[in-house]
Symmetry: C2
Amino acid sequence: MSKASARSAILDATKRLLWERGFEATSPRDVLDASGAGQGSLYHHFPGKLALGVAALEEIAAEEVAAMDAIFDPALPPLKRVRAYLERKRDPLKGCRLARMANEAAIEQPEFRRPIAAYLERIETHLRTSLEEAGAGGELKAGADPAVLAAALLAIVEGGFVLARAHWDGERMVRAVDGGLALLDGFTAAETSR
Amino acid sequence: MSKASARSAILDATKRLLWERGFEATSPRDVLDASGAGQGSLYHHFPGKLALGVAALEEIAAEEVAAMDAIFDPALPPLKRVRAYLERKRDPLKGCRLARMANEAAIEQPEFRRPIAAYLERIETHLRTSLEEAGAGGELKAGADPAVLAAALLAIVEGGFVLARAHWDGERMVRAVDGGLALLDGFTAAETSR
DNA sequence: GTCTATAGGGGGATAGAC
DNA sequence: GTCTATCCCCCTATAGAC
């Protein structure tokens, strides 16, 4: 790993600090201290703090999108995929690696929010298409709108992180997600999965 | 209003800036510039930035709790109260005045999160008791758990703010809340409100 | 209770040697 | 491509006159 070089050390440190502290609270100095790189290396590879943050977010998004693609395994029955997403193991107090940044001032910069939005969009699409597939298979009740249910389930998870952090109690997220599972059950036609 | 004095000018400016930018992004200097007060006034009335933020959050929480208490008017049928909460007019891109702070480092301080948690708890309690009342009146389907549904509905609203800001598109929140309304309909026994 | 002046430290960024 | 040294500005807080 000697040729991992300063660039990747800087990116790795940034990815870690973004999750722990967010963007504004992470200074270039913090990144350098955490990575062991020198002052000039950062500004050689990135034009500034914003670009560094964007590059780190893009790597984080790539990792998390891959994890989501694995969870929404097309080999599984569609409603099992949705349940797998809701029941995924999470650390509520750490917040969502990407959506955690939604309230930073930098979110107004399109390049900053692009990887975050892409990640959320991917989940919502997986949820919607899974629900559509379930509906086509007669597993959903009539009147269930996959697009609207997908948006609500995603909001429950992201809102669950917020509630957990606001109360500093991971159980708050668990309860919200349980509500999401109940929501799913409520729209599931009698027979199927579970 | 001449005796409104520096203290309330400082608090008002802080309340405004907390909503616009959050806590870390708001400096004591910003507050002084926005309020017209002098440097010393801030530190005469508050021991430091954290205490100022807490005092401002307590006022914001008091205002928002009052607004919630008005929405959950006991004179209304219980399910109408829940719908009124979900359908409340909001500015999705501005975020929740209180829960917006959930990802700031200061949230780890108990006094900082107390007003935020109290506000969220109040909403959740209103939702739960309204749903319990609806259940007692036979308006909810069997198996609907008011506590879990309340947590999910609150998470949908708070998560909706996050989705809207991440996409910089208020429609994202509208869709999530529509899912909340569908969730409610799904657990409503055939005849009732709407 | 309010003000102006100021301090010490860290923020983001640049210069330029190696 | 990497490093050390340095810059200017703003951050939070204190001093002390009025």
